[in-house]
Amino acid sequence: MKEKITYKKFLLPSLLGILIFYLLPYLASFYYAFTSAKTGAFVGLDNYTRILGSASFSIASHNTLLFMLICVPLNIIIPFMLAYAIHKEGKKSFIVLAFMLPLVIPSGATVYFWRVLFGNYGFINKILISNGLETVNFFQSQATLYIVTLVFLMKNIGFNMVLFISGLGYIPKEYYELAKVEGCSKWYIMRRITFVYIVPTAFMTLLMSVINSFKIFREIYLLFGNYPYTSVYMLQHYVNNLFSQAALQSLSALSTMISLIVAVVVIVLYIGQRKLAKDF
């Protein structure tokens, strides 16, 4: 009895904060989601249907999902290959530091580089035009999505690489030695030992990649502003623009809807991860 009380004392500030700033307003947003913007009266599912039917929402969600589908697998495979190549050297090697550096550098500082490289009067267009080819409008065409993927990858490879290195370090060396003694081929070792035991870490990198893929909004916003070309207009832009119009009702409807989906996905993954961890 006494223990519970005293431990709750430690939890109190954090719990209060989470309640006031995250959970209670979240419940309040449910109230907003069902009311009208002008009159404040109850309107039922009006806000939801309006959002689901709006063309901007469909464009935004389509782009967001497409971006995640492209960049998350790349962000898992490439770091894995890199980590596998260097994990024997340990965590403190210079290469790990070099890959971690783009993470800590703020986006605003390096955005100009991309503009100089890919702009309409940029370096790549200069190479193209001096060789007689036509210039490519990198920032206002379908290619924008791929450029954004490149920016994302160059920034976030380091994070997953560190995860994979520590994950590879967890695999007991005895397994490898045993396999060598038994004379297995390299590919067999990789398939049977590495891939199998890296699954929890890969799981974690999947989760982290998905979370970091939302943060690409920073680069896109700093490069293109509030209304980028339609191929990179993402859900975050949609929400941001709703904020600047102070459309609290639409915002609440949108956020409740998507957050419920995210919460369900997280719970499923959490339980799944727990089970996987038990197996290992």
Binding site: A55, S56, N120, N137, Q140, Y227, Y229, N241, A247
Partner: protein
Amino acid sequence: MYKKIVSIFIVLLMLLMPLSACLASENNKIYDSYMDDISKQNKDLNNHITADKDGENTLVITGYDKLSKYIDTNASKFIESHPYVDIINDSSEDISNYTDNFSVRIMTENLGDIVFLPGNISYKNINDAYFLDLSSFVENDKDINDENYFMNILTGGANEDGLFFLTSGVGIMDYCLMRNDISDDLTEKFETKVDLTYDDLLDIYFEYNEKLDDDEKWVFLEFYDPFSYSRYKADSLIDYENKKANFYDVDFMANMEKVKKDLLTSFDIKYTADGPVGSIYSSTDFLGDLTDENGDYMFYSNLGGIKHYYLDLKEKCFSKPRLLQTAGGKYSYAPHGIIAINKNTSNPELAWEFVKCLIGEKEELQYLRDSNMESNMKLIKILENMLTFFPINKKNFELVADIELKNNWEIALRYSSRNKDGRYDITGTFEDYKKSYLDGIYEIISEYNYCKLNDDEVFGVNSGSIVYHDMYLYVTDQQSIEQTMLNIQNKIEIWLNE
């Protein structure tokens, strides 16, 4: 250990650096204005102070752009007569800050008793939901009549619901081109036409292209800057109900191409991300007046122009095009600033008296001077371009007209001596000129119609900045017109659907 000491030292240095730089530099306007901001009790945009119901003697004024100076020094008449009233100035320094959030402020009822607004936003929210109907005040007040004010302009914003704002200072939306050989043709052509539009003006330009000087071409450039043209047209191309936009319109694109090719290349202007750059911009002022080598005004692009020494003013002036298709009538103006009273005010009578002071003799001039867009413009310059921004109080108008007409007269005298091709012949004395000018001007002003601006979304920050980037790419030849219009169409549709 050593590494830690060095790094902590560097961190401290980095923290102290900005502080010292901010404190040491004397010319740090940004820092100074920021400190002024703080010392004015945190005049943040949303930290407003509404008049409390108990306090009967407070008036809160919401506005922008140096209103503090105006209220402190020029509301003296009001302050003398009402010494027990507290005037709280809740205006923000930055006009764009103010206008960006204005619709939010209205919705959250975050405004003071008296509200100032710049003239170039739309007034769709100025209605009986949030603002007082001033028609009863205007009718019952003895001073507000046709003798003292330009009534059609002062109360021009009235609609069938009532009068919700007063105009303070006027901005003429039109301009006048006066030349003997051209204006006769044009008055014939266009006299019967009720509403001249941008496109008509463009036709005029291309028809008389060779006959116009550079100075006169400049007038067209003012209105045919591709950005202005696109904003002008945008309203007709956007379908707000079906949430569609039709910028990929063949006529519109053809006109844009014409504008870009003929107008811009003839002036050799290049657009950069900062704005237009070219030799013509270095020799002109904000209002587009050109000066010759002596620094004298050679050509006015407005009603108070040098060529109005023709005593018979009206005949020689062809009707000016409206800038926007929704306005009606031959001459149109937009308010330079408007004044409205909040519906929830607890002192409507007091507020009305304060408003009267604002449009009173001489006080209005101070307001016009203080609330101009360019901070380096002096009063004289505004007066000289009087009829681009003019006051509505007739006594003020005469004060200002006196100065400008004398100036005009002197310049006209100077040019008549040069007398190139009989263009600047002078007949009559200054008194005749002034009398006929004022008569003619009053007659013209009485025909001015309130030009109802479109929804502020079209001119507002959001859609303006949406359009601007693509227009900039088009104007600098980085993108073709089709691609530009497609992009603009997509982005505007996204914005409409949000």
